[in-house]
């Protein structure tokens, strides 16, 4: 029973202490946007707003007892979401704030792996706040900062007023090198438009593409929120973005992305392949996203995954004149780009003649 009508959207906010998470959270709770949010926080501490719908919860990671090391969920979220959803009329959406050091993966997997949570809620997007000034340092001393960026759908590059334009460019390049598929917003004082972080439908396979037509373009793209422009600036920087991922001027990056591009795929080859890749490489894959053109299918097929969890669905018919190509991005560690590319290309449909 997964009726999108009754499923409450959940936004996950990650980011280090000092990245502006609390500022953003306070804006979500106090600005008039006509929606009510239930907020699950680790500590009430910083939030200066009294609200019945702020729930304190101890981050608690449960490994599932199925022998799979990457099958982890947040036990506390299962409990709290179940409690909240017994009175669903009180709020329109849920925001989960994680601690600075939190691993975003168990949070996200909770919304896929727990049947009760899954039937009542849907993961909307993972939003990472990044402190532009301190990111280089964070990347040096922790893997979590990198994981949070790698895992995000939306990245708010905050405190841009504290860095020089050159530093900002380097930080953004580092972020982009870790995660080529996310949407980046440059901000000061977490001043991103709330509709750029809430109700994104980033895990909704068809909406993810509507919201972001350049999804998986292999080009850099970001919005300049601090300029108050209504339209997106897409910087089609002319570099080869669809191969090994980008080289970052900031080192200490262990996450890589592998962007693959191919023609029409043979579904009989592609599905066993993606299943095998995610079974074998699951622990190393943080996210995967893709659009697949199948030779025998008039519709675009979109696919996404978290570790070993993979979901796919038909999105819409290919348009006349639209190039029927397949694109797939893996974000993870220790990925064998050459092997992934070769095996991906081997799934292409052979021309009929």
């Amino acid at each position: 029973m997964t009726d999108a009508q009754t499923q409450i959207p959940v936004t996950v906010l990650t980011g280090y202490l000092g990245s502006g998470k609390t500022t953003l959270l306070n804006r979500i709770l106090s600005e008039s946007h006509g929606k009510r949010y239930a907020v699950i926080v680790n500590e009430f501490g910083e939030i200066g707003i009294d609200n019945d719908l702020i729930v304190e919860s101890d981050e608690e990671i449960y490994e599932m007892n199925n022998g799979c090391v990457c099958c982890t969920v947040r036990g506390d979220l299962i409990r709290v979401v179940e409690g909240l959803m017994r009175r669903p009329g009180r709020f329109d959406a849920i925001v989960v704030e994680t601690t600075g050091l939190a691993d975003p993966v168990p949070v996200a997997q909770t919304f896929f792996m727990d049947e009760d949570v899954r039937s009542r809620t849907r993961l909307d997007a993972v939003v990472a706040l990044v402190d532009a000034k301190h990111l280089p340092l964070r990347l040096k001393d922790s893997r979590e900062a990198e994981d949070q960026i790698a895992f995000a759908d939306v990245i708010v590059l905050n405190k841009t007023d504290l860095v020089t334009p050159e530093e900002l460019r380097d930080v953004e390049a580092a972020v982009r090198a870790i995660n080529p598929a996310a949407r980046i917003h440059r901000t000061t004082r977490a001043g991103v438009k709330l509709d750029e972080v809430l109700d994104r439908g980033a895990f909704d396979l068809s909406r993810a593409l509507e919201n972001d037509p350049h999804f998986l373009d292999g080009h850099d793209h970001h919005d300049h929120d601090h300029h108050d422009h209504d339209h997106d600036h897409d910087h089609h920087q002319d570099h080869d973005g669809h191969d090994h991922g980008h080289a970052s001027p900031i080192h200490d990056v262990t996450v890589q992305s592998v962007s693959l591009r191919g023609g029409e795929m043979d579904s009989k080859k592609f599905f066993p392949w993606i299943e095998k890749v995610t079974q074998m490489e699951g622990p190393n894959i943080l996210r995967l996203k893709g659009i697949i053109a199948f030779g025998d299918d008039p519709e675009r097929y979109v696919i996404q995954g978290v570790h070993m969890i993979v979901e796919g669905d038909h999105q819409r018919a290919w348009k006349d004149g639209e190039k029927r190509e397949s694109r797939l991005v893996f974000i993870g560690r220790e990925l064998d780009a050459d092997r992934l590319r070769k095996s991906f290309e081997a799934c292409q449909a052979t021309p009929a003649n």
């Binding site: 009430f44 304190e56 608690e60 036990g75 409990r79 409690g83 017994r86």
Partner: protein, 323 residues
């Protein structure tokens, strides 16, 4: 013919019980409704998370989002404990009016004289139960269960089994401990020797457990039938197949409640249907046609003639078996 007296409420029913023969319905919004010469209600919590009837059947012990524990009987509502801003996620009752509640990683026992004793744990306290004689408090937690002596100053017993344990019950004779798990399984321990009992094969999480008269059987939800494990032998259900009662092809059992004296269980389903099934011959009787939502709570009355039931959609009521 069984008849149903419906009570249409608004919201998720946490517990449907008889107190002094009067049907009570505790809802997630914190209001306790009762059918006592008409429909009456009493606001207790701002958001209720857990409710259990005390062993004397005189008080309803509840915990809520407001961090409070209340004891209520009709119009008399008494706050009995507080835990700050933490949610009270579980409550349990022992003999001699002892109660326990869970808030985060702490389990608190409150004795009849109001004295409190705290038991801290490294991980969240998920489920709580007192042993039949009330000497021990069982805590369901990540990777197993912990048994504390409620009054004595002795080391707790740690029972290890990997995975998250979410609920806990003692068998009525105190010989077995059974937990519900985050995965689709029950786990059990024979307390005399710590022997494990794995009860698996469920297609869904088990959320409802009920011991039959004298603890001979343990009925459970989590499948398209009530799964009833035999506990007559000294090793519990090990090596034996469970009964499957009230099997339906298209919907899951969400709630079970065994008859007070006979080997019969009331079985509630995800679509709101309620049936009764006899263990001996699996014979079924329809008690309530499908309603709006899943059955969440049921209890038989002392006369063994009525069943009070609640659902997650608020369409509650009382079934009279004899009509």
């Amino acid at each position: 013919m069984p008849t149903v007296a419906p009570l249409d409420l608004d919201g998720h029913c946490i517990a449907a019980v008889f107190m002094g023969g009067v049907p009570h319905f505790a809802l997630a919004d914190g209001i306790v409704h009762r059918l006592d010469h008409g429909h009456k209600w009493q606001a207790v919590h701002d958001g209720m998370l857990a409710a259990v009837l005390d062993r004397q059947g005189q008080r309803l012990i509840t915990g809520g989002e407001d961090g409070k524990v209340f004891s209520s009987a009709g119009e008399i509502v008494e706050p009995i404990a507080e835990a700050g801003r933490k949610w009270i996620t579980s409550v349990a009752v022992g003999p001699q009016r002892t109660i326990a509640f869970a808030a985060g990683k702490t389990a608190v026992v409150r004795f009849a004289d109001g004295k409190l004793r705290e038991f801290a744990h490294p991980r969240s306290v998920e489920g709580l139960a007192f042993s039949p004689r009330g000497m021990r408090l069982g805590v369901a937690r990540y990777n197993g269960a912990t048994l504390h002596y409620v009054s004595a100053q002795s080391q707790p017993t740690e029972l290890r089994w990997d995975g998250a344990h979410t609920g806990i019950v003692f068998s009525p004779d105190g010989n077995f401990l059974v937990t519900t798990m985050q995965e689709n399984a029950l786990h059990g321990w024979k307390l005399a020797d710590g022997k494990h009992m794995r009860m698996t094969g469920y297609p869904a999480k088990v959320k409802s457990l009920s011991w039959s008269a004298k603890g001979k059987w343990l009925a459970s939800s989590g499948a398209p039938a009530a799964i009833v494990w035999p506990f007559q032998g000294k090793d519990g259900p090990m090596g034996k197949a469970p009964l499957e009662l009230g099997t339906r092809g298209d919907t899951m059992v969400t709630c079970v409640a065994c008859h007070p004296s006979q080997d019969v269980a009331a079985i509630g389903y995800a679509d709101g249907m309620v049936m009764a099934a006899r263990f001996a011959d699996a014979r079924e009787v329809l008690l309530r046609r499908p309603g709006k939502g899943a059955v969440t709570s049921m209890m038989w009355d002392q006369e063994e003639r009525r069943i009070v039931f609640g659902t997650e959609t608020g369409d509650c009521g009382v079934i009279d078996i004899a009509g």
